[in-house]
Amino acid sequence: MTVTNMKHAYWSGVRDALPYIVVVVPFATLFGIVAIDAGLTLAQTLSFSILVIAGASQFAALQLMLENAAISFILAAALAVNLRMAMYSAALAPHLGSAALWQRILIGYLNFDQSYILSVTKYENEPDMLIASKVTYFMGVALTIATFWCLFTYFGVRVGSVIPINLEVSFVLPIAFLSMVAPMIKSPAHIAAAFVSIIIALALAGLPAGSGLLIAAVCAMATGVIVETHLEQKT
């Protein structure tokens, strides 16, 4: 593995991460604004972003803090929102499982929606990638996103008192997730899985945050495999 190739993998990761900055910037800024509004200090808000780096669960935790929920309940809810990342971890394992221990620890820390989605897409499109390139590509994506996430949390904290809170920014999240998932729909099995996911998630929306989604995801994955197997038998 030459240094040039490693650099190439890193920068293609950075380049692929750039479109996601559009989402990360308003979200991190909003988080900074809301956190300061909720009474967190600058240090608390920043360490929240640096240690956790998980948009949705940070907002969930903040919302519960505002409602004066018990700390155990806040923790449980925030972690439930993040449970989907166990699935990401499992999906990355066949690709990155043979990396060194310290690399796997770093990847674990930086394993969030965007880094996972971009990396898995890349690995599936280029099955010949070497493990070292896979790791550097992942780092290129993850470090870019994480840097912007933390920088703009700080920015949000700073401007918090100046700009009036406009909660409509929160709809940027669904728009971003829809744009991410649409290009991944390539077969009837994908469509079936997506539909099952939507229907079950909506039906179980009353359950505590995150748990309904987890059940929906497992059913949807099973659906995907069943439809795929069925279609293969037909042809």
Binding site: P19, Y20, V22, V23, L51, V52, A54, S57, A61, A78, L79, N82, R84, A86, M87, Y88, S89, A90, L92, A93, P94, G97, S98, R104, G108, N111, N166, L167, E168, V169, S170, F171, V172, P174, I175, A176, F177, L178, S179, M180, V181, A182, P183, M184, I185, A189, H190, A193, S197, I198, A201, L202, L213, A217, V218, A220, M221, G224, V225, E228
Partner: protein, 96 residues
């Protein structure tokens, strides 16, 4: 929360390492994104958490625009731009 989140994210990478995982599990895992994201988005679209009272034509229009454009172009960025333009169209029109 930081420790818990890390444990979740590291879980399988650390445990499985380079061992092979069963084909069925691997097959299921390939559906993770299409299985997780739609279920996460659907409630957010139908019951938005912003200042407006419930879902509006703007929410639905923006969601559809993002999905449609990203599907046709196969590029995340165009879907996002389409969704954002539709969603903030009243604001954009006012500014023009």
């Amino acid at each position: 929360m930081a420790i818990g989140t890390f444990a979740i994210r590291y879980s399988f990478l650390g445990l499985i390492g380079s061992r092979r995982i069963p084909t069925l599990i691997e097959q299921m895992l390939r559906y993770t994104p299409v299985a997780v994201l739609p279920g996460m988005v659907a409630p957010l679209v139908l019951w938005p958490t912003d200042a407006t009272n419930g879902v509006t034509i703007l929410h639905l229009g923006a969601a559809f625009a993002a999905l449609f454009v990203a599907y046709i172009t196969r590029k995340v960025i165009w879907g996002m731009l389409a969704g954002l333009v539709v969603f903030f169209s009243p604001l954009i029109i006012t500014l023009l």
